[in-house]
Symmetry: C2
Subunit: 146 residues, 2 copies
DNA sequence: GTAAATTAAATCGTACGCAATTGAATTGGA
DNA sequence: TCCAATTCAATTGCGTACGATTTAATTTAC
């Protein structure tokens, strides 16, 4: 890449970074009524897929360490979204389970997000193209970081 | 989007978020020798394009508020990357200027980043496609947030 | 069976991000 | 001219992110 191209707008890293922050801001609007932050919503997404995950598995899926998850999960427990328990078989692990509130509110949360999205008519095929490209990008970055 | 599709891997928001964090991690490697963080590098990119910007203009380009920039710029000033000065004409504004160190080190920093990138042979046309798609995504998100 | 190696969560410290507020400087209208 | 509105940067408070370390529990090797 030529030196002249090293501008903010030509940087893929900045466009990804910017888009990520805009997404967070967008979800903030939708999630605020539920007292949820965006990373907390990601935890719910993972637990709705599979309940009762140990912290380290949750961390693997979201690419978070315990240094990020431990305080985040404590806040979510305080707000009634999940419970944290030690399994009898292995006291090192911490099993994270959804509360009834989390299971019951799921449709309501999806509806709130969907309502915000529906205001703009999103092109589904473009959504999928962008998603596929991002997955490739993630794979490349993970290779670069190994 | 059907409820079954509300999985982590199907979420564009998560893929963008994940890619952004991986980018930050990648740049951390390249920038660590210079005592620069990734957001600080973005500030340098903007100032290399145009030196002596007022804080609010820098914030406009990077989509940062003074709440983020003020402490970040102070850290950069401490590390010798820039100076902060009040113009005589308007004492509300804060002009941010590069130091000689910042101008002189520019080629070295670009070389360090390029060296990390070069280890993988990045497909330039794919880079540009992904960049274009992200710009569209950013435009959509900005429309949604208005 | 026990000490060493491994695994896992928690803790610590630093640097963002960002909503909301504050306070200082400037501008503009009556 | 004078004061109300506006424009800025700074501050406050909270919630991530994450490298590095610590502490506790379990496994493994001998």
């Amino acid at each position: 890449m030529a030196p002249d191209d090293m501008t903010l707008t030509n940087q893929l890293c900045f466009s990804v970074y910017h888009a990520s922050r805009l997404f967070t801001k967008f979800y903030k609007q939708a999630l605020e009524p539920f007292q949820l932050t965006y990373p907390q919503y990601l935890v719910l997404l993972s637990l709705w897929e599979e309940d009762r995950q140990p912290l380290h598995k949750l961390g693997e899926r979201l690419d978070f360490g315990s240094n990020t998850l431990t305080p985040l999960l404590k806040r979510m427990e305080t707000n009634g979204w999940l419970t944290r328990s030690l399994p009898a078989t292995d006291h090192r692990q911490l099993i994270v389970s959804l509360t009834e509130q989390a299971r019951d509110t799921k449709p309501e949360i999806f509806a709130a997000i969907h309502q915000c999205v529906a205001q703009q008519n999103v092109d589904v095929s473009k959504y999928n193209d962008t998603l596929a490209m991002n997955h490739e990008l993630i794979a490349t970055l993970q290779r670069m970081l190994k």
